[in-house]
Amino acid sequence: MATTVYLDVRELKKSFAGLMATNNVSMSIDRGEFVAVIGPNGAGKTTLFNLITQFIKPDHGAVIFNGEDLVGKAAEEMYRLGIGRTFQLTQIFRTLTVYQNLSASVFAAYGKVFNLYTPASRLLRDKVLELAGEVGLSGQVEKEAGSLSYGDQKRLEVAIALSNKPQLLFLDEPTGGLAPDECAQIMELVQRLSQERNMTTVFIEHDMTTVFGFAQRIIVLNFGAIIADGKPEEIRKNEQVQRLYLGESCR
């Protein structure tokens, strides 16, 4: 367990129909870091996540995780390697109950997805309920996931992504569309779990209060390239970032 999880992104490039969505991005992240990725709309934040997690294939570059290059691996392999993620548009199993959502992910974590005979409602029950408790959904396990409040849906997706205790977690706008108090609750939850598990967490966020309130380090993207990378104080003082964000709010 002593090995340092180390994510090393090297010269990552991706273009869509001539548009450089990710332009030569290099960065490295240490074990246990809590990192925010910010940038204006279309800066390539989600694309960067998709490239790292092999949801889409990069044109060029390498993504070294734990000494292994992820490029060329299937997206399905990320889970086994200990990389979890959530999506910008919350991806949960809407027609299933919260309990079923969580048990599907627990079965995945325990390699039971090809079990064709045990009733799913009885298998690994304590693990499922434990997971529900961890994200504060214990009281709603029998509810249909699609009927949950938006904040609880986000919680549920975080729980699904956490099911196999990942070492590295990518959260794509975990608080998008939430009220400020709900925002803080989700971020506190993620922060607590990251600390408890010594999990490296990278999240995309638009709300600056959340970003500066929680991130230990901030990476700023614009036009697919990193324009700043540092501690919150440094980013706050960075002129280029100031111009980018002031410029946006003036328009």
Binding site: E76, F93, A104, F107, A108, K112, V113, Y117, T118, E157
Partner: protein, 326 residues
């Protein structure tokens, strides 16, 4: 917090009661069906056999079309291949009859493995059309490959093994096979595998990031689905004593899909109930008018318009609502 716990208990109570009721109803129904040969005339037994076969074929398809969200328009392929395999084993070959009957569904499984391998890469309309194209291909083969399939004339005069030669025995045999198959399907639907099928219907991306290989999971589902529809085809040949290219035609696929839509897609007994409606309407209306297809279409349209969840789905929904209001 206290309120929530009570709520939860009430909800669980409703589910448990519903489950008990469903199990008891299923056992009673099975008993009733079992003693029917002593009560009703032969014609009704044949009609019921037809219901059993369509119920199994449609439930097999619903594993793929309902639970997994991959609507196959070509499940006639597995029905027909099961049916033809059985017919060929019982007439052309020296294979012992029972062995032939046993192998036939596995021939359908094999076909489902090959067709599935190509089809599960697609979804929605593309998936529907590719599966339909494969089925049509087999339909043409059955017509043209005369010395093996009997061509347009099909294979007739198939003699059942002695043990199921009488109508009563045939009926019991179909009842037992279909009951066991439906039970297996219930187990599969409720298993972790089945849960993952529904999960990947709701969000394929999420499932991929749970380390589940989509295509592999869909393919296994496709094969299981094809197998059970193949069992239905095998029984179909035994009941009719003949097989024609019709069993591979698009109308056969449509019959299964219509059963699913009429009964309800996301409730297990749905396709079986739909099958009852389809078979009864086919026969009853057929005796009154030659425009049965018109009336059939009208009934279908009305059900889809006014009971979009199907008969069983709508009943289930309203029961849930009533219990919730108590």
């Amino acid at each position: 917090m206290g309120e929530k716990v009570i709520d939860l208990r009430k909800e669980l109570g409703v589910l448990l009661r519903a489950k008990w009721a469903a199990q008891i109803a299923a056992i009673l129904l099975l008993l009733l069906l079992f003693i029917l040969p002593f009560i009703v005339p032969e014609f009704w037994l044949f009609l019921l056999c037809e219901v059993f076969v369509l119920a199994l074929a449609a439930t097999g398809l619903s594993l793929l079309a309902g639970y997994t969200g991959l609507v196959s328009f070509g499940h006639a392929a597995y029905y027909g291949i099961g049916a033809y395999a059985c017919a060929i084993f019982l007439t052309h070959s020296g294979v012992p009859a029972w062995l032939g009957i046993l192998i036939s569904p596995f021939v359908a499984l094999l076909a489902a493995a090959v067709i599935g391998f190509f089809s599960v890469r697609l979804t929605e309309i593309y998936f529907a059309f590719l599966t339909m194209a494969f089925a049509q291909m087999f339909w043409v083969i059955a017509q043209k490959w005369g010395h093996f399939t009997g061509g347009y004339n099909g294979i007739v005069g198939i003699v059942r093994p002695g043990m199921i030669r009488s109508t009563d025995h045939l009926y019991w045999f179909c009842l037992i096979v279909v009951a066991v198959c439906l039970l297996l399907l219930v187990v599969i639907v409720r298993s972790p595998f089945g849960l993952l099928l529904r999960s990947l219907r709701d969000s394929p991306e999420r499932v991929r990031f749970l380390g589940v290989y989509l295509h592999r999971h869909r393919l296994v589902c496709f094969m299981i689905s094809g197998f059970f529809t193949g069992v239905a085809g095998t029984l179909g040949t035994l009941i009719a004593g003949s097989v024609f290219p019709d069993s591979l035609y698009i109308w056969k696929s449509a019959e299964m899909l219509i059963s699913i839509l009429i009964g309800g897609m996301y409730v297990f007994p749905g396709p079986a109930v739909g099958a009852i409606v389809v078979v009864v309407v086919n026969h009853v209306i057929g005796t009154f008018t030659e425009y049965w297809a018109f009336w059939f279409g009208l009934i279908f349209v009305l059900i889809v318009m006014f009971l979009p969840r199907g008969i069983v789905g709508s009943v289930w929904q309203s029961l849930k609502k009533q219990e919730g209001m108590e």
